[in-house]
């Protein structure tokens, strides 16, 4: 079973969000990186770009597939992981750490409560998603 840290919240598209002051750090889950296989490219928007919950904010490419990244929360991107273009394998090696993708300043902080808890996400995975 893939690692699902208890202090994060999740989407059904396999992104995670983690509180970071008033903002939220975002990446993809261990399950997602396992499904993708070797990540070779991550395409992220620029700092300052607006993202909308459940809408695509970027793309992750593995050797075998390309997948959209979906924003867990609506807001503005205040930070992007600038190490990823040169080190995309961090998404595989450390999806909840060095493999983080963006930090969002939320414009609708209430959306946090709509995200899946770790227990709910684990349940979702166990249903075979």
């Amino acid at each position: 079973m893939a690692n699902v840290p208890a202090d994060l919240r999740y989407t059904k598209d396999h992104e995670w969000a983690k509180p970071d002051g008033k903002n939220y750090r975002v990446g993809i889950t261990e399950y997602a990186q396992e499904q993708l296989g070797d990540v070779v490219f991550v395409e992220l928007p620029k700092k300052g770009a607006k993202v909308t919950a459940k809408q695509s904010f970027g793309v992750v490419e593995s050797v075998k597939a390309v997948s959209d990244l979906f924003a867990p929360l609506t807001g503005e991107i205040v930070e992007i992981n600038t190490a990823l273009p040169n080190e995309p394998q961090a998404v595989n090696q450390d999806p909840y750490g060095k493999g983080w993708m963006i930090v969002v300043a939320p414009s609708k902080p209430g959306e946090w409560n709509e995200l899946l808890t770790a227990a709910q996400y684990e349940q979702f995975l166990s249903e075979g998603h």
């Binding site: 296989g37 070797d38 490219f41 395409e43 490419e61 593995s62 050797v63 075998k64 390309v66 995309p88």
Partner: protein
């Protein structure tokens, strides 16, 4: 697992990049038993193959292998294949799994005057590829496999399984393809895995098979060549031998040779790591000038690479083009191929 030509095939075992590097640095095993094999025999076998295939089969010695093509009268490709001369009047051809039925119908319809036998269902095939392949196969074989030259084969036993040992492959590394009776292929596989433990052997899935062949620019039927592509566009003119006499497709191919192909299959290197995939448009100054046929991140070259048909004037090494990826023109340029230097035995 994915469905490939009707077979359930593993895309990866430990991970595509890890498996790819294993083959380049040690040795990997590929179960490619899904490939098709036909035998053709009799006094008319050579003539049948000369009519069907583009390369000159008359140059083959017994024990020698040749890469070749089956073409349609219009010059498009039915399949790419290898031709083995088993005996003076007996040959085997190895064809792509997804084309077995089509090829069988084609060769039996147009390769008359010889006895054809489809041995695909009774023939297993394991590719042993990598710098340590020779040591591994040597250890288990009752013949001197080191003496087998590139694109040559010999018969012997490997792990006491009766095997046709072929010094060929689809990776650009030294190695062998071992043809064995279907029912004994699994035993051969297990023996190779066991004997290969200290050589760091590992099973390799379809994913790495694709990245390895792409770094070599080896064509994949259905991606880079098909019914709509002429061998000269695909830069496979080296296996077309018009001087040998008539063969199916010759007039159409020679017409293209006379006029010069309008497009060419080239190697592209992307400026960034975005992956140019099959079907993506190739642009020049915003104008569509071609299409990507295969693309991946090359684990050995550590770059995003692709094969693409482009208009002939844009095929020169160094030419800058763009690949349209998700609506965005991303810079690439034409590079010489293979992308990675081959290490096959000569």
């Amino acid at each position: 697992m994915v469905e490939f030509g009707g077979w359930d095939m593993p895309v990866q075992y430990s991970g595509i990049i890890d498996e790819h590097r294993r083959v380049r640095s040690a040795v990997g095993l590929f179960d490619v038993s899904h490939m098709g094999e036909f035998e053709v025999e009799g006094a008319g076998a050579l003539a049948a193959l000369q009519t069907l295939t583009t390369n000159d089969v008359s140059t083959l010695e017994v024990g020698q292998i040749q890469y070749s093509l089956l073409c349609y009268p219009e010059g498009g490709v039915v399949d790419d294949l290898t031709v083995y001369r088993l005996a003076p009047d007996r040959y085997m051809i190895t064809v792509n799994a997804s084309n077995i039925d089509k090829d069988w119908a084609w060769v039996t319809a147009h390769g008359g005057g010889a006895r054809w036998r489809n041995i695909s269902a009774e023939t297993g095939l394991i590719a042993v590829q990598g710098p340590r392949a020779e040591d591994l196969v040597s250890e288990l074989a009752d013949i001197d496999v080191r003496a087998i030259g590139y694109y040559r084969f010999a018969r012997g036993t490997v792990a006491r399984v009766s095997t046709l040992v072929s010094r060929t492959g689809y990776t650009g590394e030294d190695g062998f393809e071992l043809y064995a009776p279907w029912g004994e292929t699994e035993r051969l596989w297990s023996a190779l895995i066991e004997a290969g433990t200290k050589a760091d052997v590992a099973p390799i899935g379809l994913g790495a098979r694709d990245t390895l062949r792409l770094e070599m620019r080896y064509a994949l039927y259905g991606n880079d060549i098909d019914q709509t592509t002429n061998p000269l566009e695909a830069v496979l003119g080296w296996v077309v031998k018009p001087a040998k006499g008539d063969f199916i497709g010759k007039p159409a191919i020679e017409r293209v040779r006379g006029e010069g192909p309008k497009r060419k299959l080239v190697g592209l290197e992307m400026a960034d790591r975005s992956v140019a995939r099959h079907g993506y448009p190739v642009l020049s100054g915003g104008r569509r000038v071609g299409e990507v046929t295969s693309g991946t991140f090359g684990p050995s070259v550590e770059k995003s690479i692709a094969m693409a048909y482009v208009e002939t004037p844009l095929a020169a090494i160094g030419t800058a083009v763009d690949v349209e990826i998700r609506g965005q023109a991303r810079p690439a340029h034409v590079v010489k191929t293979p992308f990675h230097p081959p290490h096959v035995k000569r």
